[in-house]
Amino acid sequence: MSADFLYGIEVIINGLMAGVLYALVALGFVLIFKASGIFNYAQGVMALFAALTLVGVMEGQVPFSHLINAVFGTEIHHFGWEVPALLAILLTLCIMIAFAWAVQYFVFRHLVGQEPIILFMATIGLAYFLEGVGDLMWGSDIKTLALGLPQGGSMAVEEWTAGLGGDDFYGFFIDKLDMVATVVALLLVAGLVGFAQYTKQGRAMRAVADDHQAALSVGISLNFIWVLVWSLAGLVALVAGVMWGAKSGVQFSLSLIALKALPVLMLGGFTSIPGAIVGGLIIGVGEKLFEYTIGAPFLGGATENWFAYMLALIFLVFRPQGLFGERIIERV
């Protein structure tokens, strides 16, 4: 096999891994959208916020220390303890649930019945708000997330595959972290599907997704379900934030990477969990392959910035409901 072909395969494999992470963020969107019709632009920032919080809790930072120092002239930064990773994750999860409750209670409860586009713009406001709060709480410097996840290329895979090509091929380079992320993502999806299918709350959630009025009339509390889905979305955001954060540091650009989940959803359809996963994989592979075959050699590179959006745009013109979305029938 020629080296070019093998490198092409490596690009595809790496694209698949990146796609898994896109899909992870996209999952959070799908959860909220299905249950409440809210297209949550803030999902990316939620991932950032979760990662920031996790780092802050682990390092024992005092929340809002900058603000407190500025107002009272003090010099506090750390509590002086460090929290073990597992406990920190649990604490962060609690904070995400509190956040979910606050979002529902202070914002979206007042916007029930508004047009989707108004809700969408409200989530853009939420994104700004949350970004500001995250920065105020933990500071805006780039943080490293030290969870002890494996990093760097996997030597085992590299050695194992080196024999496939000729002398100029050294084996596939695959990041261990990406492999971990893939496994975690698969577990998370399995867990969510199980939750939705086999628990009472899951059934209620699906009922609400189907028809708000009907769900209300059989005694399901909409508020509870919405807090629940926002909490689940917070959980997904936490996982996505940890994975992205471990990969490229916890910083603002994380929320921009998460924007990639939007074209993923447009491909996969907003209401479909398998769609989010397949869409994520298509975008991940597509943008890597495009950059490798056309972008870098002919267009000056960095096409990953826009490829996903363009692909989604062109695709949508021909199939507005996405790959797996339900067909839209217009009526008068």
Binding site: G125, G300, L313
Partner: protein
């Protein structure tokens, strides 16, 4: 007591459909124009021009543009930054390519070029609706910024990748370049804003404006009534982009003078202008002014209060600003989706009846 419509009878439909049907509003409008043109240019200094007035005037043009598309025609766009970049780079290429032609013509042409680009990116709006379209406009945003970054023809192969506005004159007065007087910057932006606002007002009160609003309120009914959806949406994209292109050209040539595309016209700019029209009021020309003024003044005010008075660190104030803007957006969408313009209208209705509200 003076603000009333009783006794102010209209005897023709022209008089009834004018911009300010109430006499008092008309007087105030002329007064504002007089102050803006005859008083402010003589009293402002460099700080006020650069911190408040010029950005306000330029953002107001962009906000009018986006309001036409989003507020009047109901198509949410997150590509404003990208379209401003088209205006800026078109203006730059024209300025350097045809140095003998007036800068005013260049800016208008830059608007025209942006209109064409905007209409092209508006084509998918026929098939894609709502936030699907909003996300699709992100394609325009990221692609255009990438394009101006990567294709060196756009920045005349300069080593820095920046574009720099050469010195140009209107009636013998420098309006671009390092030697521009503050009042000249102010005046050229003011003239463009005034003309743009008038054009926008005329378009939105007539047939085209009504077909935009019909598409916004109920696109299927609009089509059955006889609105050609393709034409309505594409004209909205084109007109909106025209204004945004002009504002981008002014932003580059008059305000900043030197621009790096990712920094000046990134996605944050798209959100900023979107926030202006949400806070100011969707579907209102006055709201575009109010929103632009609010979001230009807010950071300056916060900086004065936080950094200068309270002596807080700059980044802290910047973070607070994010929190405040985000909270305001949610607040307005919950309490007053029609923004400051609606608050203003309500105040006026009360004033009209004052002091006898019943």
């Amino acid at each position: 007591m003076f603000y009333r419509e009783a006794g102010d009878f209209k005897t023709s439909y022209e008089a009834d459909s004018q911009t300010f049907p109430i006499a008092f509003d008309r007087y105030r409008y002329w007064a504002v124009l007089a102050i803006a043109f005859l008083v402010i240019p003589f009293v402002i200094n460099d700080y006020w021009v650069n911190a408040i007035f010029v950005p306000f005037l330029i953002y107001a043009i962009a906000a009018i543009g986006l309001n036409i598309l989003t507020g009047y025609c109901g198509q949410v766009s997150l590509g404003t930054g990208g379209f401003m970049a088209v205006g800026a780079y078109a203006c730059y290429k024209l300025m350097t390519g045809f140095p003998d032609v007036s800068i005013v013509i260049h800016i208008i042409l830059a608007g025209g070029i942006t209109a064409a680009v905007g209409a092209a990116f508006g084509l998918p709006s026929l098939r894609i609706k709502g936030f699907y379209l909003a996300v699709a406009t992100l394609a325009a945003q990221f692609f255009l910024v990438w394009l101006f970054n990567k294709v060196s023809w756009f920045y005349n192969y300069s080593a820095s990748g920046q574009i720099n506005a050469p010195e140009r004159f209107v009636a013998g007065v420098a309006v671009t370049g390092p030697n521009t007087a503050p009042w000249a910057q102010y005046m050229i932006c003011l003239v463009f804003l005034t003309v743009c606002a008038l054009l926008a007002r005329n378009l939105t009160r007539g047939t085209i404006g009504r077909s935009w609003m019909a598409i916004r309120d109920m696109d299927i009914a609009a089509e059955i009534i006889g609105v050609n959806p393709l034409k309505a949406k594409l004209t909205a994209f084109a007109v909106s982009s025209f204004f945004i292109g002009i504002s981008g050209a002014l932003f580059f040539a008059v305000y900043l003078g030197a621009v790096e595309v990712g920094e000046a016209f990134g996605i944050q700019k798209s959100f900023l202008v979107l926030f202006m029209i949400i806070i100011g009021g969707l579907g209102s020309i006055f709201g575009s002014f109010a929103g632009a003024a609010f979001l230009v003044v807010l950071p300056v005010a916060l900086k004065v209060i936080g950094v200068d008075w309270l002596d807080w660190p700059t980044d802290l104030v910047a973070h607070l600003q994010l929190v405040i803007v985000g909270a305001l957006i949610m607040f307005f969408l919950i309490k007053e989706p029609h923004g400051l313009a609606q608050l203003w209208r309500v105040t006026k209705e009360k004033l009209r009846l004052w002091p006898f509200p019943y």
